[in-house]
């Protein structure tokens, strides 16, 4: 067992209280708890329960309810995070009810952010919250028996003393609620875990398979009307005028208004960097009694659009990005040694350019949001990954006190980064504010795909020097739309492994809105880098996997604190992947490709198996080895791993969005291709046994998938893919006659 030693005071985020109806309530601030470096916003002594956004309730009968109001976008945290609490509370998981946070509270907002960091950052504070509750219950029982608490033990909600007498948690909750929060608690050691590491199905499973209203699109209140919004069809266009005569005459139509002014005023301020798609223009809103009537009438609006800023095309942007790669207007994010000197002395130099398209997020639940703005309060409900920001931003936009905002989370039909940006929250709030009614804003799929905050198009140029059989220099250049890689990415592999190493970035500012997309930047960088290392190995005439392992040896024992990846753990997943995939031992007709990558604090290696079917290379299997530390919920983890791999394969193969005169070339699934059942490879997952703290799984298995496939396609076709999506390059997909067996 280990005494908790986290760097922040538990009292900052835990308070207890007895409940009027009996039982113990332990409130804690999950937002603060999961971001240890964030200071609590106000004086702790003035906090009351309205300031807490997550709760454990232990009833007199011993039933434990964990309220988890954190955003659930399909990554499984609504299940896994309560598991951490329940483990240390020492109750049986089957006796725990997990509920979405209370929906009718007047006084608090749930300030929560999701993302791949939930489990990593929640690991210690959430277990500590459970341990605190357990300790208080145990102390209460010991006091009643008049014994030293250290002589008592707990198991599955029962406290036992040295004489073998027992009390249930429910028997002592009233007493426990009166006790002080203990200053120190003891956390279980890994070997004593009973819940962590066991399979727990999704807590919303029953509701999902029976079609219960869980999602934002399903939310309704009496008197609610529906809104469909007509936005500029092209980035760079602005509304000039419109004719709504026909729309107004259509059945169910209540009103036609314009919005945009308020959001525009807000986003031009320096304090707000929330991307707002097409915010420079007014938008025409049809308000109707039903969704269909609103959508139909929207299509009857005749609008005139004028060009405000240049309408950009993919061809134009490609030239800009290539121009940046050829130029010298870079910001240097990391520089080790002297790459120029190494290139000057090199025996061999390899340089390649890799190109990616824009990608829409395509959450299955199209963007939507509910708002009811009244003189008393602002009621916001729906799927947004940044609820805290949404509440503050809407209050700011409408000139209202943030305390008047009551915001409720709904389960999200996918996020992938799109719902970090709440342009649809602004829209819904501005509409409700204008019409003084509760309103549900619904995007059509076409709205969703054309008013996106897309993954930006990016080009990488990588150049390496080889001298005397060693890689002596590595130069990574990035040219991207609107922004560049950030955070620790420049310190990922091969940083630390190559003496002369430099990362340079530049960007072209476009009027097309861009944002985070599952595994931002690394979702394509991993493809570029891991394709490059295969080609570099070919150039050096060495084994591609051995090249990676040799480079990792140079990182071991590094004193460079910027290097967060572990060369030992990366080497291990590589070796396990070699073994599990039967690397190099497959018979004729199976072509394998390898990739390994570290991101989001997890280490992953993947091997793709490609076979030729009807003269076409087909991805049949991906072996995926993951080291994410302790696996909290293997059942959920495997789902995330498989989903990430298949998503990565699908977007590398098919994902494509081009712009022509500011308009995306696809607006719906008749022309935009997402991976479907027949194209899905078998995914064989292996998770490394570990006793170190867990790390994220929502993203890290996606980035290496594209490279593993590209390297396998090279083996199958002899052709090297340097741009995505692969299927766009039909000539490269052709298989030489010698590869077709039988």
């Amino acid at each position: 067992m280990s005494t908790s030693s986290i760097a922040f005071n538990r009292r900052d985020f835990i308070r207890t209280s007895s409940l009027v109806g009996g039982g113990l309530l332990i409130g804690f601030n999950l937002f603060t708890a999961c971001k240890p470096k964030v200071k609590p916003p106000i004086d702790i002594s003035k906090l009351n329960f309205n300031d807490f956004n997550a709760f454990i309730k232990i009833a007199d009968n011993g039933v434990v309810t964990i309220f988890a109001p954190n955003p659930e976008i399909g990554q499984g945290v609504k299940t896994a995070m309560p598991m951490l609490i329940a483990e240390e509370l020492d109750v049986a998981w089957k006796n725990v009810h997990v509920q979405q946070g209370i929906l009718d509270t007047e006084n608090y907002t749930r300030q929560l952010a999701g993302g791949s960091q939930s489990i990593r950052l929640g690991w210690e504070p959430l277990r500590q919250t459970g341990a605190t509750a357990r300790q208080m219950l145990l102390n209460a029982a010991a006091a009643r028996w008049g014994v030293d608490p250290s002589t008592c033990t707990t198991s599955e909600g029962i406290i036992t003393n040295s004489k073998g007498e027992t009390l249930g948690y429910g028997d002592v909750v009233k007493d426990a609620a009166l006790l002080d929060v203990p200053e120190k608690v003891t956390l279980k050691s890994h070997k004593d875990f009973k819940i962590i590491g066991t399979d727990a199905p999704n807590v919303d499973l029953d509701e999902i398979v029976t079609g219960k209203p869980l999602f934002g699109l399903d939310y309704k209140v009496d008197g609610m009307v529906y809104a469909a919004v007509l936005r500029p069809p092209a980035f760079g266009q602005k509304l000039e005028s419109f004719d709504d005569t026909a729309a107004r005459a259509m059945p169910g139509v209540i009103d036609v208004i314009t919005i945009g002014e308020k959001a525009r005023a807000l986003t031009s301020g320096e304090s707000n960097n929330w991307t707002v798609a097409l915010a420079n223009s007014d938008k025409v809103v049809v308000i109707a009694k039903t969704t269909w009537e609103a959508m139909k009438a929207k299509n009857a609006i005749k609008a005139n659009w004028v060009e405000e800023t240049p309408l950009e095309s993919t061809e134009f942007q490609d030239k800009q990005l290539l121009g940046l790669l050829d130029g010298n207007k870079f910001e240097t994010l990391r520089k080790d040694g002297d790459i120029n000197n190494a290139f000057a002395q090199a025996d061999q130099i390899l340089e390649r350019t890799y190109e990616s398209p824009f990608l829409p997020h395509n959450c299955m639940e199209p963007m939507n949001y509910f708002a009811n703005v009244t003189s008393e309060k602002i009621h916001l409900v729906g799927p947004v990954q940044t609820p805290e920001f949404a509440a503050t931003a809407v209050a700011g936009m409408l000139g209202r006190d943030p305390k008047e905002v009551h915001l409720e989370m709904t389960r999200m039909g996918g996020g992938f980064g799109r719902r970090l940006y709440g342009d649809f929250v602004y829209e819904a709030a501005e509409i409700s504010n204008a019409i003084k009614k509760p309103v549900k804003l619904i995007y059509s799929r076409e709205d969703d795909m054309t008013a996106g905050t897309y993954r930006p198009a990016i080009k990488y140029r990588i150049k390496a020097a080889v001298k005397d059989g060693e890689v002596t220099a590595y130069h990574l250049k990035e040219a991207a739309i609107n922004g560049n890689m950030y955070g620790l990415i420049p310190n990922f592999f091969p940083a630390g492994a190559i003496a002369n190493y430099q990362v340079d970035v530049a960007n072209y500012k476009s009027n097309i809105t861009t944002g985070a997309w599952r595994a931002p930047y690394t979702n394509f960088l991993a493809f570029a880098e891991q394709s490059f290392f295969d080609e570099l190995a070919e150039t050096m005439e060495v084994d591609p996997i051995q090249l990676r392992i040799d480079l990792l040896q140079k990182v071991k024992g590094t004193t460079d604190e910027r290097i967060e990846y572990s060369p030992e753990r990366l080497e291990n997943v590589i070796k396990v992947a070699v073994e599990k995939s039967g690397w190099g031992k497959k018979g004729a007709g199976i072509y394998q490709g390898f990739a390994a990558y570290y991101c989001h604090n997890s280490h992953v290696a993947e091997v793709a198996d490609v076979e030729i079917e009807n003269g076409i290379p087909v991805v049949k299997k991906v072996t995926c080895v993951v080291d994410c530390g302790i696996v909290v919920n293997p059942l959920g983890a495997i789902n995330q791993i498989e989903g990430g791999v298949i998503d990565g394969v699908g977007h590398a193969m098919y994902g494509d969005l081009e712009f022509k005169d500011g308009k995306p070339n696809s607006q719906n699934y008749d022309s935009y291709r997402l991976i479907r059942m027949r194209e899905v490879p078998v995914v064989e997952t292996h998770m490394v046994e570990s006793d170190v703290a867990p790390t994220g799984l929502g993203e890290p298995t996606l980035p290496p998938a594209g490279a593993a496939v590209a390297n396998a396609l090279k083996a199958a076709t002899g052709n090297r893919f340097t741009a995505q999506p692969f299927l766009k390059f039909t000539e490269l997909m052709k298989v030489p006659a010698k590869s077709i067996i039988g």
């Binding site: 999704n202 999902i208 398979v209 209203p213 269909w292 639940e365 039909g413 996918g414 719906n668 991976i675």
Partner: protein
Amino acid sequence: MPTYNIIVNGISQSIEVASDTPLLWVLRDHLNLVGTKFGCGIAQCGACTVHIGGNAVRSCSLPISSLDGKEITTIEGLSENGDHPVQLAWKELDVPQCGYCQAGQIMTATAFLNNNPNPDETEIKSAMHGNICRCAAYTRIHKAVALAASKIR
């Protein structure tokens, strides 16, 4: 506006709507059956799949005018207690990630298994190919259809 009579999950419903209103929005907005999901509106993703006369159909692209007198089953009416073999298989294998597309997946799988209770792997793949799962929980969807088949047999 005209009135249409349909039978949804065994209950007769009389609905006054425009003739071109898709079944999807009749279910969601008029009958408050929101388990059937809106995904694309053009019958390409399968999120809106329901049964008419036992066959899987895309409710987003079926105007109400074509359905007068028809018997419709939605996810809410698939079983009384969420215990249809397909639903049980989905739960046993913990299929969903975000869960949004799953009602449509389940309705597609159910209709398919009614017609082909003993499918092979290729038949399952073809049957489910029309339903997009953006979270890519495809591996489990595939296994769940096979498991459901074994439960039905």
